[in-house]
Symmetry: C2
Subunit: 414 residues, 2 copies
């Protein structure tokens, strides 16, 4: 392999069909942001949109719910997310958080299969998925079986007709390894069970075809690749064919057919709307709308192509420039198996991440011993990747990382 | 009773020790807002605070979670709410929504009393409370017994040792009638059950002493009297003595003892923190912080005194000026039984509310046949009450309401 120069990266940027999309974001100077998989960057349009929403609240008070179309925002933003994940407009709704969304998806699956007893999930998944499944187990008595990824298909077959659902995260938060959605969904369906995907590290970064794969339910995060801002609400996808069979296990007044009829009985709203529970956190939801709008006019196919090109460039540069410094690429090198991040395993990963942050290169640390770098194709340039690896090289040759402290200063949400 | 004049009301305003608090709000001109029990008004400080938070996000990106103290916001704002409801600082946390908070409270109660089977609640409560209790019943198999308010104490005794919890809304959304918190809590405790109060229409309007009454759990709304903005998150109070016995039934990573340890097992954070689930919707949460800060330096005793004075003035003026127009005061006339609203029953309540809105007097309509007027003591003046009743009088004598339409244009969240 020929050595890759910064000039090569400049040429890639000049040819990049997505280069102009960077202008949709308000990025701070002197920062290379490789943590958009944890908190996406600020879209340029968000401050004015939120200021306007606050003005609507102040001037129109309660009337703003209808006048400013707040009431329909959960389904409106859901419909904007739908094409990014290969779902229909009326299959996606924005709700509380990824964890609550996963509760709704998995508990609804439990309730519609009273003769089945087991949910299968994967070891090494992001903890909140395991936690909320444990909660469902404690509430309903179903069993959660947690298996290693390589044993999933075998376990699905083995549980067979006793299987309620399989709950998997499409792209692993730690390694960036990506499951075969079509194959695992098909294997799950062979038992008659439901397939539930957590798309936290996929939506907005990876090309998805939920309907093409026959996915039953999915959840995903609003504040990572969708750029919805800190703690932005999450989304829930329920396949059209299941919307009348499944029931929101957290029934609330805004998910009823006529909230203002004030009926004591919970009569679900038609379609995806029943999965709303209480009043949505509107400022955060409208910020998510601006975040999703940064994808306007883009095809996920081209977004994915750039994402892969960026992460491959990073891996190639690590191979080329960091040999002998103790890094192991912990993410799949195969494009078909890699999400939109590259994780490097290193004994002093935590300290190295700190040293990079001092230099304005923002990645994050994950236990144990993982330096994690996310590649957001909407606002990263190829030269950013080159510069980031260059900084990393300098950190290593100057030994800028302090090995005597293990205090980690980064916070990140997944 | 002597006739009350507008000049009398001007005198009351001049003497009002809370008059200056109105300056903390950005109120639109030519509007008398009697719907702050549905969506509180905009505090003056909110726009700048949210703009600053968005700036932190843009400039500091993921680092803002620690630098801007977002991570501790749920407990920080909870501690600000605590003195308003008679709880200790470490007994209150801000979480998703009132409905989700009620799920957490009641399902936690179910899980800690496996040998008991019944939850008692009240007919005519705001529907979302009934809906979420129904969800808990469907998930866990416990029974929900819904009884009329006057039969509550009898039913509590009758269920006795089989009682898990009593779930009541302190102030009824429709009538404004207020329960005797101390008496019902004591009656519930006699059976060994837990008492859960929904404070949606109480917190920020009524003097509360949760600890004095020995209340076990409570939930409340952020967007009504607490002025947190559209769909602001809610709060959950768990009495200190129960925080280790109860477990969050919607376990998530941010409620664990060490979220960044990424442990698969859910190990609850100490105290109230375990009741957080996923990442909080930060923009909405910070708006709630500004909303709660409008109570700075105020005693709930004086807030309550003004609230009662306003609602009593309204009732007196209705008696004085609207006699013969078909109104029935549907709220308790007794101060000790009345929350912070006055509901008027009228055959054409919906149309009358519409006619008032045209005149800039914002109340709301509730099925069936209730015109509802909320009195927010932080920003309402006595002359506003006088002017509102004067408008109502003119609406009636001019027959400005159209009786041939029943289409309601108001939206309100409870």
């Amino acid at each position: 392999m020929n050595s890759i120069s910064r000039a090569d990266c400049e040429r890639l940027d000049a040819l990049d069909p997505l280069a102009h999309v960077r202008d949709r974001f308000a990025l701070p100077p002197d920062t290379i942001y490789l943590d958009g998989n944890s908190l996406g960057a600020l879209p340029c349009s968000t401050p004015a949109r939120i200021a306007q929403a606050i003005e609507h609240w102040g001037n129109r008070l309660i009337r703003a719910w209808l006048e400013a179309k707040w009431l329909e925002a959960p389904q409106r933003v859901g419909a904007m997310i739908a094409p990014l994940i290969g779902a229909a407009d009326d299959e996606v709704i924005v709700i509380e958080s990824t964890t609550i969304a996963l509760f709704k998806a998995a508990a609804a699956a439990v309730q519609c299969t009273p003769d089945r007893e087991v949910i299968i999930t994967e070891a090494g998944n992001f903890p909140t998925d395991a936690h909320i499944l444990q909660s469902i187990s404690e509430l309903t008595g179903v069993h959660i079986r947690t298996v290693e990824a390589y044993r999933l298909e075998e376990e699905i077959q083995s549980v067979g007709e006793n299987l309620i659902a399989v709950v998997l995260t499409h792209v692993n938060y730690r390694t960036g390894a990506m499951h075969n959605m079509a194959a695992l969904t098909a294997a799950t369906h062979q038992t008659g069970a439901l397939m539930i995907w957590d798309l936290a590290h996929s939506a907005g970064a990876v090309e998805l075809d939920l309907n093409g794969c026959g996915v039953d339910l999915a959840v995903g995060c609003g504040y990572k690749y969708l750029n919805g801002g800190p703690g932005a609400p999450a989304f829930l996808m329920v396949a059209k064919r299941l919307q009348d069979q499944l029931e929101n296990p957290l029934g609330g007044w805004l998910g009823t057919a006529d909230p203002f009829a004030m009926a004591e009985e919970w009569i679900p709203a038609p379609g995806i709307l029943q999965f709303i529970t209480g009043s949505p956190a509107m400022l955060s939801l409208l910020a998510l709308e601006e975040g999703v709008s940064t994808f306007a006019g883009l095809e996920m196919k081209e977004v994915r192509a750039k994402s892969l090109a960026l992460s491959k460039l990073f891996i190639d540069l690590i191979d080329q420039r960091l040999e002998g410094h103790g890094f192991i690429v912990a993410s799949p090198r195969s494009d078909i198996r890699r999400g939109s991040q590259v994780s490097l395993s290193h004994l002093y990963a935590a300290e190295i991440i700190q040293a990079l942050i001092v230099r304005g290169v923002i990645g994050d640390y994950r236990e144990p011993a993982i330096a994690r770098f996310g590649f957001t194709p909407l606002y990263l340039r190829y030269v950013d990747v080159w510069d980031a690896v260059n900084h990393l090289h300098e950190v290593m040759i100057n030994q800028e990382f302090q090995v005597n402290t293990r205090e980690i200063q980064t916070f990140s949400s997944v």
